[in-house]
């Protein structure tokens, strides 16, 4: 085998300058200020007086080549043949001529790409792999993203939230989607179901034992075969044992639920970055539209929109009004599961008499 196999050219990360809009190249590091003339549009002015208009549009992330070609045609017509993408899979067209912004927007809308996601809007949800391509998902990602963005479309194309809202979704508890203002994540509720016949032939048992965060797994002989067993009292149903040992099936159509977390923030603006906190769990994993999860997200956003001050991120708003009020306003039940018991959890308790009545 292996004849005429080409050696890879280990070129690493390609240079970005040749792919950059010429005005961005020219004014690299020389931008002075910007404004947002309307949702979905940024207007940047450089120290040299050059101006550039950016039009941001949502995409489905999982794109067929014809969709990409369609976007390329738009870029050739309006944006000198250059585009860039944001971290949340939005596409951006840069225009040297501000007078063409309106017709570009019309064109994008006509082709079905919503324009928005800037400033204090809800941007596209951070999107993982799901059923489409991951080997451990309990739910889909593209469908969740599509459903939620459909229902939040108005908040994507308008800038009427107190501050920007970042969403993410994760289809297992590895949580590729990451921290966000609102995060919709799989939460398994039952320990793995072990197919003991397969364990010995597939799994490196010591590696699996080591993977468990709460030391709930131990080697065992089952039906005379080497296998693994789980102390179900200890197991936190995280699913960490499943990737290294597929016979430890953690995904369950019924018992793998969705949970919603809020208040993740990576920016340093005002408050320090923060981790997201649990709001509600036990939501059904309900394809193809996940209406229960979508409704919960909308409830949270509605309360935030009505009650938060300008510039307050979702977590900052809750810090100001307190969790008691947050649960009152949103109507979600507060349970013993909201009380953290992981290491360091004492610092999440209230060690003061600061209480709102």
């Amino acid at each position: 085998m292996q004849k005429h196999i080409r050696q890879a050219i280990e070129s690493g990360v390609p240079d970005s300058f040749s792919f950059m809009h010429p005005l961005m190249r020219k004014n690299y590091g020389q931008w002075d200020w910007h404004e947002r003339p309307r949702p979905g549009v940024l207007h940047h002015v450089s120290l040299y007086g050059d101006e550039i208009w950016t039009v941001r549009a949502g995409t489905q992330r999982q794109m067929d080549t014809d969709t990409i070609r369609e976007l390329c045609e738009i870029a050739d017509e309006y944006a000198d043949g250059y585009v860039r993408f944001t971290i949340r899979s939005n596409i951006e067209f840069m225009l040297a001529d501000g007078s063409r912004v309106a017709s570009l927007i019309d064109k994008l809308l006509e082709q079905g790409f919503p324009v928005g996601g800037t400033g204090n809007a809800v941007s596209m949800i951070a999107h993982t792999q799901g059923f489409l391509h991951c080997d451990i998902p309990a739910t889909d990602a593209s469908g969740v993203a599509k459903s939620i963005m459909d229902s939040l479309h108005d908040e994507f194309i308008n800038e009427r939230m107190p501050n920007r809202v970042r969403l993410s979704t994760s289809c297992c508890q590895i949580n590729c989607g990451g921290q966000a203002d609102i995060s919709i994540n799989i939460q398994h509720t039952k320990p793995p179901m072990i197919n003991h016949d397969l364990v010995a032939n597939i799994c490196e048992r010591p590696s699996v034992v080591a993977r468990c965060p709460v030391a709930a797994i131990r080697p065992a002989l089952v039906n005379g075969k080497p296998s693994l067993e789980v102390d179900e009292k200890k197991c936190v149903c995280c699913g960490a044992c499943y990737p290294p040992c597929p016979p430890m099936q953690i995904n369950d159509p019924e018992h793998s639920k969705l949970a919603i977390w809020v208040g993740g923030k990576n920016s340093n603006a005002r408050s320090k970055p923060s981790m997201q906190k649990l709001v509600v769990a036990g939501l059904p994993n309900n394809p193809p539209r996940w209406p229960e999860a979508t409704a919960a997200v909308k409830t949270i956003l509605q309360c935030y929109k009505e009650d938060a001050r300008d510039w307050e991120r979702l977590g900052e708003w809750i810090d100001r009004i307190g969790w008691q009020r947050f649960f009152d306003m949103t109507g979600f039940p507060f349970t013993r599961f909201h009380v953290d018991n992981w290491s360091g959890s004492r610092y999440t308790l209230n060690h003061s008499t600061h209480i709102r009545f």
Partner: protein, 111 residues
Amino acid sequence: MISDNMKYVRDAEGYIVQPADWDENFARKLAAEEGLELDDNYWSILCFMRGYWQQNNVAPDVRHVTRHLVEAHGYDKKKAKQHLFELFPYGYVKQACKVAGMQRPRAWSTG
């Protein structure tokens, strides 16, 4: 599962199912499938991997193998890794682990 004379049971991707069943003949046969010719360079690595497995019941990480090459053959660290990937051009998991009779490593499937 494919079985060779009922001796070496292998999974769909050709990895051995029971590392304890491995022997040198198996290694030669697997190496041939991968287009590799086993010389002393290979055997040093394979023996180390087998020893590690005997002790720990898990496949060693690449870094353990490179450490072995540094200690046993005096390579510097960068060279050791280069050497390893020259011997196994499709990578440690795909080739070294297979020939050394490790179960298919799954630690890196996802996450």
